[in-house]
Amino acid sequence: MWTRKAVVYVGLGTILVLFAPFINNLQLFLLGATILGFVAVHSLVNTRPIDVKITRSFDSDQVFENSDVSIDLIVQNKGRSVGFLEIYDNLPSEIEVNNGSNHTIIRLHKDELVINKYNVNCRLRGQYRLGNPRLRIYNPSFLFFYESDIQSKSSLVVLPQIEQIEGVDLSTDFPKMYQGALPLRRIGTTGEFYGIREYFPGDDFKNINWRVFGKTRKLMVNQFEREDISDLMLVLDAREISGTGTVLRNPLNYSCRAAASLTSFFLRSRNRVGLTIYGETVNVIPPDTGDRHLYRILTALAEVKAAGSLGLHTVLGDLRNFTPRSPVMVISTLENDATCTTALREITARGFKLTVIAPDTLNYDRDSRIISPTVYFTASASLDNKITEARSLGARAMRWNPDTVLSTSLAEVIR
């Protein structure tokens, strides 16, 4: 391909050669001929096709959000020597280079191998395809160039960030009494002694630790380990509206992080966790346990995209087969969902222990001027109404500001 410079050179050279005779000017004539000669010589320098093999390797092809990944772009020359080789590794916009660069210019000798190292920060969950690297060869004076894409694609899975949740009892009042249930190192009502805490009105008198009271003159109650495991279903709202906001800060991303954190928390406690995602379609991952199941859910969460407008009522059919009286956690802003009240009523009517977590990015959206103050007040009031409605149905509902720790917010609702 010719660059603009080459076109200008050829044009200027031709004009000088043709114009110079009219004023009998040998100087301009020679200059024109030399310019044409220069372009002609340069058409042979570093313009022939090359044979370069490019491979990419990661230190890890599955990472959590906000993690760094080191990428090695291995460039192997199998053809002629290349003087000016520009390599640009195509990266998705969600991935940010934080050390080194995905763009490099090198000189490659015959059979030489060069490794371009750079680090990327994966700020957003997702399943990404990296590549193909784009090659551009310039001749030294930028008169000609040649571009091509090299087939070298790699996939990188960025899983949602997991927040450690501790000391929150979200499980059922009706545990599944599996044979050989293992005691969990969590606070409950039966089992082994766990610790003591301050007395609150409503605590059972029989749990008061009188020995401690005798020593300290403070009412303290004993706490015991809990011995149960339960099935738990997470319902995630992936409708198009949940993607409102910026690429990084929108309800869907925060919902995915909350779902990942809760899944990890419950699976660690040997519960069985299922996931239902609704938006464009309804995808159900049946309850199961173990590390492989955690990975399956995290991968599903990584792939979730905001699309569709199915209401919450669409998940009712799948919940019908779910273990009765088990906890159901709906993670949704419940915005623009006319069916949500009916659906929440239906869920509580079936005896599921319902928790509603509504990720609230409205403050951020208003501060960033994504929404106007009027829209903010309307949306905020609407969300408050939905939360109140859910609470009136007996659900534990909360408006979660993603800037605060999830477990702290949950503890306030569960208390």
């Binding site: 410079k5 031709t14 050669v17 043709l18 110079a20 005779p21 004023i23 009998n24 000017n25 040998l26 100087q27 301009l28 004539f29 020679l30 200059l31 001929a33 030399t34 310019i35 044409l36 000669g37 220069f38 002609a40 010589v41 340069h42 058409s43 320098v45 570093n46 022939r48 096709p49 003087g83 000016f84 080194g100 660069s101 763009h103 490099t104 210019i105 090198i106 000189r107 060069v114 030294p140 004076s141 930028f142």
Partner: protein
């Protein structure tokens, strides 16, 4: 040598080439013959009622020095925006005062000195513009400087083969100026992007070496293009090769163009062959 040194060397050689090109251009085309300076002479004579060029004598060198000084001053001044603004205002105020004083027939200003400086400034204008282009990476200035170097000394008297060495020197230094200054603009921009790269210096060295080699090859190819004219004279029928048109500079121009056309056709065919081979793979 590191990247910064190589880039500075490119700028220095480019500046020197520009000065040499302008100097040789004035040697090849005397200032008295220049259409541009005749026009200026006309304007100044009209204003002051005095022939300027006859008093210039061999002022080309002084003009180059003034241009070099002005260009360098400009580059340094632009480092500090405030100083630059004040200097520019002062400069224009002085110029306006000189003109006002001249029109009001006030002789406090040394009339001849300002007039001489004015002409010298015009003589060195391509260098002023070029230096700014080279040291501030402005492609617009480079194009303007190249244009002024070609156009300002241009006269109607033409030149002969007696001046061939000066002409060759001019062509070589002009090409060096253009290539190094444009190359510096591009490579320094890439160097800023590639600040972390250790391999980039090798690319820069490759450019410098290739430039020297290709300039040498260009001279060779241009000579072949001129020899092609003689080859054509052997090849073509006598009534054509012995014609007046063919044996003047017009004939040479056409021969050169035919040579490069053949070159382009051959290369296109060669490239097509390559593409076809690639498709077969």
């Amino acid at each position: 040598m590191n990247t910064r040194n190589s880039l500075s060397l490119m700028q220095a050689i480019s500046t020197f080439s520009l000065i040499l090109a302008l100097g040789l251009a004035y040697v090849i085309n005397p200032v008295e013959d220049s259409l541009f300076f005749r026009a200026i002479d006309g304007i100044v004579s009209g204003l002051y009622g005095q022939d300027v060029l006859s008093e210039l004598n061999n002022s080309a060198l002084a003009g180059i020095l003034v241009g070099l000084f002005s260009g360098t001053m400009f580059v340094f001044l632009t480092i500090n925006k405030k100083v630059y603004n004040y200097t520019l205002i002062s400069f224009f105020t002085i110029i306006i005062l000189i003109f006002v004083a001249s029109f009001r027939s006030y002789d406090a200003f040394p009339y001849h000195i300002t007039q001489q400086l004015f002409i010298w400034f015009w003589l060195g204008l391509p260098i002023v513009v070029g230096i700014v282009g080279i040291w501030q990476d402005s492609i617009g200035n480079l194009i303007m400087a190249a244009f002024l170097v070609l156009v300002m000394p241009l006269g109607l008297s033409g030149n002969t083969n007696d001046e061939i060495y000066y002409i060759l020197g001019f062509v070589f230094s002009f090409m060096l100026f253009i290539e190094l200054s444009y190359g510096h603009t591009r490579y320094s921009r890439l160097a800023r992007v590639m600040y972390y790269s250790k391999e980039y210096e090798m690319v820069l060295q490759w450019f410098l070496v290739t430039l020297v080699v290709t300039l040498a090859l260009t001279i060779g190819l241009t000579s072949i293009a001129f020899l092609f004219h003689d080859f054509l004279s052997v090849l073509l029928p006598d009534n054509f090769s012995n014609s007046i048109e063919f044996n003047t500079i017009y004939g040479q121009a056409l021969s050169v163009l035919v040579f490069f056309m053949i070159w382009a056709v051959a290369q296109t065919l060669f490239s097509r062959g390559y593409l076809a081979r690639q498709v077969e793979d």
